[in-house]
Amino acid sequence: MEFPDIIAFAVPAFAALVLIEIAVAKLTGRGRYEARDSAASLIMGFGSELAPLLGGAAAVGAVFYAAYEFRLMDIPNTWWAVLLCFVLDDLRYYWWHRISHERRWFWASHVVHHSSQHYNLTTALRQTWTGQIIGQVLFKTPLIFLGFHPAMVLFVGAVNLIYQFWIHTELIKRMGPFEWIFNTPSHHRVHHATNPRYLDANYAGTLIIWDRMFGTFIPESDEEKPRYGIVKNLGVFNPLMIAFHEWIGIAKDVVSARSFKDAMGYMFGPPGWSPDGSRMTSAMIKERWEETRREG
């Protein structure tokens, strides 16, 4: 079974869909674009394709090759294996994505994708330049070690990535029963929102069932429109700052840490963690919001 490079085929479609979304958003008034924000997102996407060529792709390839050499079993390249691999890879994605929000070291890479205050198809392409090696090695290698061929694992990962493109839009409101099982624009708008009620939710890639199973599902409310971005939005469109601002923040915090424990907390604690609690984690923000709601 051949596994084509479907990302290469999808890229022209991405560009066409962005143009269509711009036109529809303009005509209907549902959705908005800020040219500089879109430029930053697209440059980030462009850079994310080049970054692995600096050596990361070779390193990941070597690890995958080694893992496959020592695989536990031989899983044939059949349609059912692809389907099984896709579901397991989607579960892999859920946990990787969740950890990328819950631990600052991983958030430093993933924050890039959330750093736009807009939610449109260009936001989908705002991807990290860092963190891909550890993400692939830590979370995809087990599938290969299990016996799935590396090409199959990369193929289903690409399918998942392509699926996640179209859900970055405000043009599609609700999708009925499809939303029970699949991740949709509505579910993913919640994930990109900074409203306290929506924080830490909907980590799914393709199947929203993982959020429903692990208690992280929050539906979009008609009463509260999502406000997109991050808790402390960036004040620049500079791609270098978008790519590295959180890493700079970590470095500054670690240098000024008063103990090894504090340094570890700054690196691997939740984003917003501080030894004295003077900063706010998303859990603290949510708790404050819930307290206010109870009192009010």
Binding site: I22, A25, R32, A35, N233, L234, G235, K252
Partner: protein, 131 residues
């Protein structure tokens, strides 16, 4: 794609330019100048427990500076058609005095720099420095 990295990169950058141009042409309405009402609304969302007691707003509507009831500060800056806020204690921000006003740069990487042209800023500068 051609398989040649340079050619593929050039094509990609060309497509990016087309998409950005399309976005610019379709959505080119300028952002309205920042005023206290807009700044307050955004700050109430980002920093709900910050209680502004007074404001210094840029004459051109680019940014606003607020003093909080607890002696801390917040800036609200325009970024394209959006707003960005930062809250910080006295003494934490870098403050530069210019001919017609001040530039306030809150601590932290990637934050906004608030350019505020306003009449009397000396007292604000003192308070921002924590004096």
């Amino acid at each position: 794609m051609t398989g040649n990295l340079l050619i593929d990169s050039a094509i990609s950058l060309g497509v990016i330019a087309v998409l950005v141009l399309a976005a610019r042409l379709a959505f080119r309405a300028p952002s309205p100048p920042l005023d206290v009402a807009r700044a307050s609304e955004r700050l109430a969302f980002d920093e709900p427990d910050f209680a502004p007691t007074r404001w210094l707003v840029d004459a051109g509507g680019r940014a606003a500076l607020a003093e909080g009831a607890n002696g801390d500060f917040a800036v609200v800056c325009r970024l394209g058609i959006d707003l960005v806020t930062r809250r910080f204690p006295a003494g934490a921000a870098a403050v530069k005095t210019e001919a017609n006003g001040i530039v306030v740069v809150p601590p932290g990487a990637g934050g906004p720099a608030a350019h505020i042209n306003a009449g009397e800023t000396a007292e604000w500068v003192r308070k921002l420095a924590g004096e």
